[in-house]
């Protein structure tokens, strides 16, 4: 019997050195989805890959395909993976989408990343009706958390943490310059936030100059050539590196070469990329301060002033949405029985009405004919009204016995309803509710 399984690793379980080996870039994600779909037992799938987590959501009979899929990326991930099934998988995914599991709880980026992951899965046709419904509900939960609680207010974005860190080193940035390497959104907003600390110059270096121009406009900076990077490292005081390169863009050797020309001025390197773009060995030099995403998380933990109350409210919203999702799913699972029952009853009513009408032959006019058919339908509706309501209520509350009993009582073949009602729900359990496993 198929169910939703979630396997993944995140900033909570795995260090950045492991995450960067498992993470997907834009192009490799499509290949990954294709690989996942080809694995036996996987009916639907979705992959969420951000700097802080890689999670695979599948509709399958077990979590094994997802686990093997992640281990095929890097065997080192083995000790860091977590698994969730059914209700727990839905809850985890909702919490992720609502930014409750984020490194910076309440940050807004994750909702967009989850949407993008769904868009990619839908484009690759790996997200079927089941995961689509799960995602739709997760977006509702995320939106409610964002609008109904203050969890995201006044916080926490990577750029704010970067600002906090830089402020502890330099105080303010007047007379100093910020260099942004790469032209992603996160880097751009960090550079902009740092410019607000009073930085004199913001320099942007990116392989694509057009994109660099766009970012430079946003952060009120100047575009510099990517090939000038060693020279730029000598000039800048704060260097934010956020590219999608799979290797070190700033190496320890490059930093070492700048020390003397810089006259050992303090230098702060902030690496927002996964895989990392700044060699962690850079931190060994005096007056060079280097941080990666994991370090930023430590800052968050240190400066996290309990928004506990808001977090509790947000968790309650997520829980309510998980319950609503499950109820909806259970109801849908009961629909095959209901719809088969109704189809059978309507067929009988039609047949009996036909019989009666053919016996009466010429003695009945068009008006009488319509009255007989309406009566047959009315009898079916009246008879089925109470069972329909009870079956729906039972299914919504997770009661598996009643729909099963109804199927047995009315002699409904298990294969019949699926064919009859929602063909896309063929994978959905007909009687037993999956989260009851």
């Amino acid at each position: 019997m198929s169910d939703v399984f979630l396997v993944g690793l995140s900033h909570r379980t795995a260090p950045i050195a492991v995450r960067e080996r498992v993470a997907f870039s834009g192009e490799t994600l499509a290949e990954g989805l294709a690989d996942l779909r080809a694995r036996p037992g996987v009916e639907e799938s979705l992959v969420l890959s951000t700097c802080n987590r890689v999670e695979v959501l599948i509709l399958a009979t077990s979590a094994e395909p997802a686990r093997r899929f992640l281990l095929s990326r890097s065997a080192d991930a083995a000790g860091y993976l977590y698994e969730r099934a059914g209700r727990e998988a839905a809850r985890h995914f909702f919490r992720v989408a609502a930014s409750l599991d984020s490194m910076l709880v309440g940050e807004q980026q994750i909702a967009g990343q989850v949407k993008e992951a769904y868009r990619l899965a839908a484009a690759a046709a790996t997200a079927g009706p089941h995961l689509s419904r799960l995602c739709a509900r997760a977006f509702v939960a995320a939106k409610r958390v964002r609008t109904e609680t203050e969890i995201g207010r006044g916080t926490t974005s990577v750029s704010q943490v970067a600002v906090e860190l830089v402020a502890k080193i330099f105080g303010n940035l007047s007379g100093r310059s910020v260099l942004l390497v790469g032209a992603g959104k996160m880097g751009a907003s960090s550079a902009k936030a740092l410019a607000s600390l009073g930085a004199d110059h913001v320099l942007v270096a990116n392989r694509s100059r057009d994109r660099a121009k766009w970012v430079a406009r946003r952060a009120r900076g100047h575009v510099r050539d990517f090939s000038e990077l060693p020279q730029l490292l000598t000039e800048a005081d704060v260097i934010i590196v956020a590219t999608s390169a799979p290797h070190f863009v700033v190496t320890a050797e490059m930093v070492e070469a700048t020390l003397k020309p810089r006259r050992y001025r303090s230098m702060c390197l902030i690496d927002l990329s996964v895989p990392r773009n700044v060699d962690p060995r850079c931190a060994q030099f005096e007056n060079v301060f280097a941080y990666d995403m994991d370090d930023l998380q430590r800052v968050v933990r240190a400066t996290w002033h309990a928004r506990a109350e808001e977090a509790t409210r947000a968790e309650a919203i997520v829980e309510a949405e998980v319950m609503a999702f499950l109820a909806e799913r259970n109801e849908r699972a009961a629909l095959p029985v209901l719809s088969a029952l109704r189809q059978r009853a309507e067929a009988i009513a039609r047949l009996e009405a036909q019989k009666t009408l053919s016996l009466m032959g010429e003695h009945i006019d068009e008006k009488g004919r319509m009255s007989v058919e309406a009566m047959a339908r009315a009898i079916v509706n009246k008879l089925l009204h109470a069972p329909t309501a009870r079956l729906k209520a039972a299914a919504a509350s997770g009661d598996t016995a009643l729909p099963g009993a109804a199927a047995v009582l009315f002699g409904i073949d298990e294969a019949e309803p699926a064919r009859a009602s929602e063909p896309e729900d063929a994978s959905a359990p007909k009687v037993a509710m999956p989260e009851q496993r």
Binding site: L165, A167, K168, I169, F170, G171, R263, Y264, R265, S266, A283, E286, N287, F289, Y291, D295, R298, V299, R301, A302, T303
Partner: protein, 276 residues
């Protein structure tokens, strides 16, 4: 009489130190800073009264002994702290400097260290001596505050560089502001110490007949001057940060050791070991 007043001043210093430490532990209690500042200011005034009483009682000669000298150091240190707080409001510094002030004031209360003072030879009763003593104490006080600031720098650097981000990380000021404060304290201290050295030589000329006698007092004072002078030069050459903070600690350690050694070991200096 003056000792009772000094006691009051010391209690006030201690209370202000507690206030600043309390603020350091609970940084949102901003009121603790205002209270701490008021207490230091009050203690400073009371201390001024104690000093003037002591001068009236014994002509102020005890300030030329180690015990009185340290008390004077506490007084000047507190005054400098008040000025610093006015110029660079970094209240976290109070938690590090005021305990030093209290420690310097304690020997005066409990009679630790030498206090014997003779009658000063009339030959050294010159305006230069007054300038010499006050600049020497001022220089030591500045170096003492620099010591506290450098210690703060090293603690914060350990947090920031070692990625601990613990309690100190959020409480201590930024590395840059500590570094700059340390540098300007060392620079000012060096300038003040230079004046003390020159006036000291003038006093020596009057007392001993020569500007330079290779007296241990003079030699250590010169060593301290050279060390801090080198630091000022190194700062111009771009040295800063951790190494600079370590040098500041070393400089003050040298200064303290020489001061205590010269003040406690009898007859090691030409003026009898009691700064007379």
């Amino acid at each position: 009489m003056s000792v009772e007043v000094l006691r009051t001043a010391t209690v006030l210093y201690a209370a202000s130190a507690v206030s600043y430490i309390f603020f350091f532990v609970r940084p949102h209690r901003v009121r603790a800073v205002r209270m701490g500042f008021a207490l230091v200011a009050g203690a400073f005034l009371v201390h001024a009264v104690a000093i003037s009483l002591a001068c009236r009682e014994s002509g102020g000669t005890q300030f030329f002994a180690l015990r009185g000298g340290l008390g004077m150091l506490a007084f000047v240190g507190a005054g400098l702290f008040l000025v610093l707080e006015w110029l660079y409001p970094l209240p976290a510094v109070g938690a590090f400097v005021l305990p030093l002030v209290v420690i310097a004031a304690l020997p005066g209360l409990f009679g630790l260290g030498s206090s014997q003072t003779g009658v000063l030879p009339s030959v050294v009763r010159l305006p230069a001596l007054k300038v010499h003593v006050s600049t020497a104490i001022g220089g030591v006080a500045l170096f003492a505050i620099a010591f506290g600031v450098a210690a703060m720098y090293l603690l914060q650097e350990r947090e920031v560089k070692g990625k601990h981000f613990g309690v100190l990380f959020s409480r201590l000021p930024s590395l840059e502001s500590l570094d700059r404060l340390n540098q300007s304290l060392v620079r000012t201290g060096f300038a003040v110490w230079s004046v003390a050295l020159v006036t000291g030589a003038m006093v020596a000329k009057n007392a001993w007949g020569s500007f330079w006698m290779w007296d241990p007092q003079q030699v250590t004072a010169l060593l301290v001057w050279l060390l801090y002078g080198a630091m000022v030069e190194l700062c111009h050459m771009g040295m800063h940060g951790r190494r600079y903070a370590l040098l500041t600690l070393a400089g003050f350690a040298l200064l303290m050791t020489s001061m205590i050694a010269l003040g406690t070991v009898p007859n090691v200096t030409r003026h009898g070991g009691n700064f007379q």
